[in-house]
Symmetry: D3
Subunit: 148 residues, 6 copies
């Protein structure tokens, strides 16, 4: 499985989103591979705030060039694809009376052996989704990958 994909940008983005102490081992590997990376946290009942938080984080950590629509377009679709995994059906939170508390990780690099495949971006989100009631929530995960 995933032969040509031996740098597994998606799995690494998930691991990075999960990571607490192990974070440094991962980021030093990303640096070695010359990948850009960043992570953050966001909690909201409003999906647009989650999208905005990930976009802002990607810009500030210079994973994407905020001046180029083509890069923001690639990032946006990766975020929305990741949110499909979290929301599982409707890409909606508050309108369905639910809230999400998420960590997100963004990776940008060359995941394919073939250099001509160029750069790709992976957005991983992991956290909880549930009722706006403390503890009435379970875990959720999502991953979006796009060429950039």
């Amino acid at each position: 499985m995933a032969k040509g994909f031996d740098r597994k940008i998606g799995q690494q983005a998930i691991m990075y989103a999960f990571a607490e102490e192990e974070e440094e081992a991962l980021t030093s590997k990303f640096t070695q591979m010359n990948w850009r990376y960043g992570k953050g946290k966001v909690g909201s009942m409003e999906l647009q705030k989650i999208v905005a938080a990930i976009e802002t984080s990607a810009k500030r950590q210079e994973i994407v060039n905020a001046e180029l629509y083509r890069e923001m377009h690639a990032l946006y679709h990766a975020i929305i694809e990741a949110m499909h995994g979290v929301t599982r059906g409707q890409v909606e939170l508050g309108g369905m009376l639910r809230t999400a508390g998420l960590r997100f990780a963004i990776l940008r690099g060359h995941p394919f052996e073939n250099k001509a495949e160029g750069e790709w971006i992976a957005v991983a989100v992991y956290g909880t989704i549930g009722a706006p009631v403390r503890g009435f929530e379970h875990e959720a995960i999502g991953l979006g990958i796009n060429h950039i």
Copy 2:
């Protein structure tokens, strides 16, 4: 995040799906917690074959009781929710000219501190999705969690 969820059944299901050598460390922890677990692989352009493979695996590894509809119902919905993360939009593969090669992991246990919350089931899927052309695929992930 995920305060009451300190046994993180979802994250562990994902780690278990990722795991190769590290698998034993995980499964011995599952055994210690008295959780049921199992994993497998499936590749198909037909979504129903992926659902069937996960169901069959869960039955054979005795994670669910195949005689009880309530358990199969809980499992089924967890599988479909996980497949939302993989398919990101339409829960469809071949009909959209794409195929998936997935590893899946199933965990069943008590993720919540409060014993009254009972058992839950987590289905994690990880692998690749893409064109029916070798290497023209990227990673995808999904997680479904349900009470059982």
Copy 3:
């Protein structure tokens, strides 16, 4: 609720789909109101067969004029809307490894007081949906209403 809708074409379609012995009381009321009506049964893992069965039944029982696209168009959309209630997410059966056994009822008449509102069509479906395993299924319902 449903002030202007006092002939409740939707509720009556559902009652008619449910009906066994009470059927005559309903159909004599439909005749009195000058409504066209019909019912049938269909079970399949293929959604298109369910759509086809309802369409064929509506044509044979002369609820719609099979020569007019505008009538078939109104009926088709009412059927698909009803199937949303049965499938709850993806309008798909076998591709998600599930099957449905349904009774359907079709009503056509003037549900509104205001005659200018003309004729409307209601399609009600009721039955079970579940795994292709005897008894591993629960009830499902759907209702589609359209102007015709």
Copy 4:
């Protein structure tokens, strides 16, 4: 159809949602079967208010235990599934410039002959959906069933 399902929790939930004078006959049957039940009304352009109203009603009428996430999780998914039948496509109201006026009924009991299948919950919704203009609306129905 629905062989093993002879207590037809779904059909009864719908009948209970429809019921006006006949309500007592139904509720005395529910009591006899040792089922929990409740009903209510809600009208809104905001879907989350409808979800909240059904949840609140289920808690107040002690159909679910508001202290247990597992019960609220089962109820929530049953409500969202029911709303799929009402909204037929996007689980959204005001954002698509439409409003719904609904009666809802909640039943909790043992619908299966096999006692080991345990308790299930059914949420039925019935009413009108349409433009935010008096009388510019038609009927809609939905049913969600879940193990609890």
Copy 5:
């Protein structure tokens, strides 16, 4: 292709939405065919405002009879179908942190040779969709057709 559809109401609605100087040639043809027509512009992050703008325009330009629910029902579904083409997945704008700037065109007439097919309505929308950032947007199009 589109044999029986030689008056191509959909293509003409799109051309009319695109049209700037060529508009008169189109509208004089519409008048000749005895079709009703109208166009307008709307930009919003709120999908309901776009729906409302198209509905209001259709009423004011007397393309539909605002007193008849059946006509507003036909128009509403045509608008929502058109917005599927613009939104490509979730019929949602601001909740997914995107905005749309659209021209819309509405045509009502007899597109089929067979007079018995009666009147149909076409709603075409064309413009841009993207981030709420100037220039970070690409084109989008949608077409909804319904019997009226």
Copy 6:
């Protein structure tokens, strides 16, 4: 509207899909702008055949490099987005008992003034969708745009 988008790749792709005699005027403009272009026809009840036909056409007409996954990935998503406009809800044909007969046009070029925005691809589809019965169909349109 569409300020920065003055080469309107989407509108031109639609016009090219519509075009019969006027085709040459368009293609000579495309050549002048150094854009790649191609068109074709496909009719099917199977959505995957439509996707395949557009992909094959784009490869044969050398609009994309069939050796590069990144290009095929960009094209694939543009096709699926275009098919959302045609299918308006579920990206499905035969499974919902409907068929489509489509012309498609593919354009690849620099639509933005800012050269750094690079190349984008537009897929336009236009034709009819309806019952598998001659003439029981209406027009449908779709447009997908992606960075490449």
